[in-house]
Subunit: 495 residues, 2 copies
């Protein structure tokens, strides 16, 4: 992994001064074109050994390019808002919007490598982290992000020399800490672990560039030229190939042999009398209230997702849930059209923003499943994009789960006749809040396509940590109680 | 202040049950209309004594209305990200967007009143806080926010009774803490201090509604009906009167008697030789670098604002500043058209988002002064709005200053000939990054109007804590050194 970066690469002053002005101008032009195009973003990860001059090169890149369109993220310890959420949240919130460059000094690689080196985690833990990283980066590049990763390497002797030199100069002494020497003592261990991590994460869509860091001029030029070259190539593409250049192999989906479908097996005749409903409502709301106020929940959080056909009663069910909660500790996120800031980021960014901290409940009224439901059925998103969404969603939910967030997902289902009845009722009563739009009527014609999408969604995303609950909703009372009961059970199991 | 709220107001069960369904329906309709209109937001502050049932009423409001379009903020202690910024930052970040309702349980009143009651601050401090609150609320309502403030009052006896009752019931015992009794012991003191605060902040645009809190039904109904009534009245307006209903008296502005203008007094012939520039650049960049790395700066922050005519050299000056800084610790905010999320909030929201935490530098390339420069000259904003912006800006900068942020503001100025020369140069060289647009030529014709705007801006916003530095920028070298020098001096004085 590091052999080519121990050859003593250097660039003499003359060559550097000859090449720098043109490189600078070209980088500025490419950056300008990126801003003009505005249809993808660039992420540059600068990682590597201590004393490798990462900060220096990042400063040079900012000097060469237009720093107004670069966001440099020097990540130190997580803030308490970050510590209360899944580890990737702090990176998601810093993803640059389209047209911009985000530089990460301190990235999703830092902690897994450090933790393994200090023996806080096992080889298996490291490999698990690496797999997660791999999927995260795959998601980024699938979403059109141009991801560049540089690893600054110093041969052992060179690192010692460098640390000594920095220490010897009163102007740079502050840059060398005790930790730097401590880590230098672990040089071989770090080399082995990072070598392993780099090997497994040097993928076709996001390969590492290992840079010998001994000579600053060589380092700056290597990084600068790589960025320029990759950026130019990407910019030379047009249309969809520029926005999302990766081809995505999609396996053909075959209908089930006997045509039996999960959603059609639900017993929609189940119901509750008004009297039973009253009693059950009080009972389950009371239990939910106590669970949400419990000491244990104060260190956890709940994310509940509501999906369902038009008029299936999502709103009513949600209100029966929130009625059991303290308004200070929940937030409902109604998912409608994305804002322009949301549109300029990878798809899941607009949901990551709402991931709750400790002790909080977030309810999504429609959710990230829009991609595999309405966007699939209405053909708003290409097949490749919604096909890969299943895996991205599972990753997302997996991260929520591992950070202690309890997940509950509800699909409220009614049959065609019940929907027609509810539509007509709404029309008759002219409730302006529940206006039936031509869209609602059109959606009815796609009932079968929605059924297909729902079956696929459940098959592919109903996991042990985040199971789907299919709610028979022809009877509103029955549906609401089933939702409350399920929430109570999910919390009960988790706490 | 509280007399009318000690009369033993109550509503019997029958009356409540008779009125509730209609109120509920009307509130939902009004809330729906608010979302449809989407041109203003509603903020509801629920404050008052402990045990006054604030949480309960907030829950009731959420049950009555559609909680999907309400954001309830239960503010406890500031997070560390909040603690590292001006106190109002945590409220700004929670302001609801247009079309939504934000409820604040725990507001900008909480801390000033508590601090005074516990003797941590003086009467004068309290009055200063009150004045700030007053200006903040004035800004909100000027920006079109519908601001409703409720104070839940309990006569002393009623408060004792209520705390005892809560304590007596095992189901509600958890709601009464030692602090509640401690504060009850200070009842008279709290009454006096909050009475004072309420009196001074019961303004025409944001009056308090004091509600006797003894009886829950009375409390819920009073609050619900007030919200409904105020919201309906506002919604019955149309166009500009709905968006921003307040008339704003604008005094006529008279030109100075002798027509002498500050900006014309600048000596634009000042210059530096290339050789002197090199030396000075190294010297001041070095000092700036050391200051930004100093231990003292780690507890402070720097906000630098760059404004100037087209082609005055803002970008070049900014790059000479950032070249002296570590890219991990600065962020440049280029101010262009607001995003749709920004447009849905009060004007200054999009700048508050970028207020730095400790140890950081934020550079604004154009800024909140756009309102009194381009928006004024191009008539994008009415006179009332930009006239009040001066005071709002001074408030904003005052808050930055008091939280330890050092402010520096630069107006880079060139004369007409110099601008023409630079425009022509750019055209000749076809630098695509510095394309001259028809806008640039048009702006030239408004030179005098801009001069007026700049003079007013400097006269009204050059304060002791945030002085303007007018930078003679016909000579780029001279301008850049003046900028660097000024930054060093500002930091030197502050640290």
């Amino acid at each position: 992994m590091f052999e080519s970066a121990e050859l003593g690469h250097k660039v003499d002053k003359e060559t550097f001064e000859e090449q720098e002005p043109q490189l600078r101008k070209d980088l500025l032009d490419a950056q300008f074109d990126l801003a003009e195009a505005g249809d993808f973003s660039v992420i540059i990860v600068i990682a590597g050994v201590d004393g490798g001059g990462r900060g220096e090169t990042i400063n040079t890149l900012n000097a060469w390019m237009d720093p107004r369109h670069i966001e440099t993220n020097g990540l130190a310890l997580p803030s308490d808002e970050e510590a209360a959420r899944p580890p990737m949240w702090r990176f998601w919130r810093r993803l640059p919007p389209n047209g911009k460059i985000g530089i990460f000094f301190g990235s999703w690689y830092t902690l897994p490598i450090l933790d393994r080196a200090y023996g806080r985690t096992s080889d298996a833990d490291l490999d698990q982290s690496i797999e997660e990283i791999d999927r995260f980066e795959r998601m980024l590049t699938d979403e059109g992000v141009l991801l560049l990763k540089f690893w600054f390497h110093l041969p052992k002797k060179a690192q010692r020399r460098r640390l000594k030199r920095l220490e010897g100069d009163p102007k740079t002494r502050w840059r060398v800490s005790k930790t730097d020497w401590e880590r230098f003592g672990m040089y071989d261990r770090f080399r082995e672990i990072s070598g392993h991590a780099l090997r497994l994460t040097s993928t076709a869509h996001a390969p590492w560039t290992v840079v010998e860091a001994t000579d600053a001029r060589y380092r700056h030029l290597s990084v600068g030229r790589t960025i320029l070259e990759v950026l130019r190539r990407r910019l030379s593409q047009t249309g969809e190939r520029r926005r999302r250049p990766l081809p995505y192999p999609v396996l053909p989906r075959l209908p089930d042999l006997d045509g039996e479908r999960l959603v059609e097996r639900l017993d929609l005749t189940q119901k509750l009398s008004r009297k039973d409903y009253r009693g059950e409502l009080e009972r389950w709301q009371g239990r939910l209230n106590r669970l949400a106020r419990s000491r244990k929940f104060a260190k956890r959080a709940l994310v509940a997702v509501f999906e369902g056909q038009d008029a299936a009663g999502k709103g009513g069910a949600i209100r029966r849930v929130t009625a059991a909660l303290d308004a200070r500790f929940y937030r409902i996120v109604p998912v409608a059209a994305p804002s322009d800031e949301e549109r300029a980021h990878p798809y899941l960014w607009r949901f990551w923003r709402h991931v709750p901290g400790h002790g909080l409940v977030v309810i999504f009224d429609r959710s990230w499943y829009g991609r595999v439901l309405v966007e699939r059925v209405e053909k708003l998103t290409g097949e490749a994009a919604w096909m890969r969404a299943y895996a991205e969603i599972n990753d997302f939910e997996d991260q929520l789960d591992r950070s202690g967030i309890v997940l509950a997902k509800f699909w409220l289902t009614i049959d065609r006749d019940e929907q027609l009845k509810r539509f007509k009722e709404r029309e008759k009563h002219h409730f302006k809040r529940f206006k039936i739009t031509p869209d609602d009527w059109r959606n009815r014609e796609k009932w079968d396509a929605y059924d297909d999408a729902v079956c696929d969604m459940v098959d592919r995303t109903s996991t042990g940590i985040a199971p789907w609950t299919l709610v028979e909703a022809n009877d509103k009372y029955f549906a609401r109680i089933k939702v409350l009961k399920t929430l109570v059970r999910r919390l009960d199991e988790a706490l």
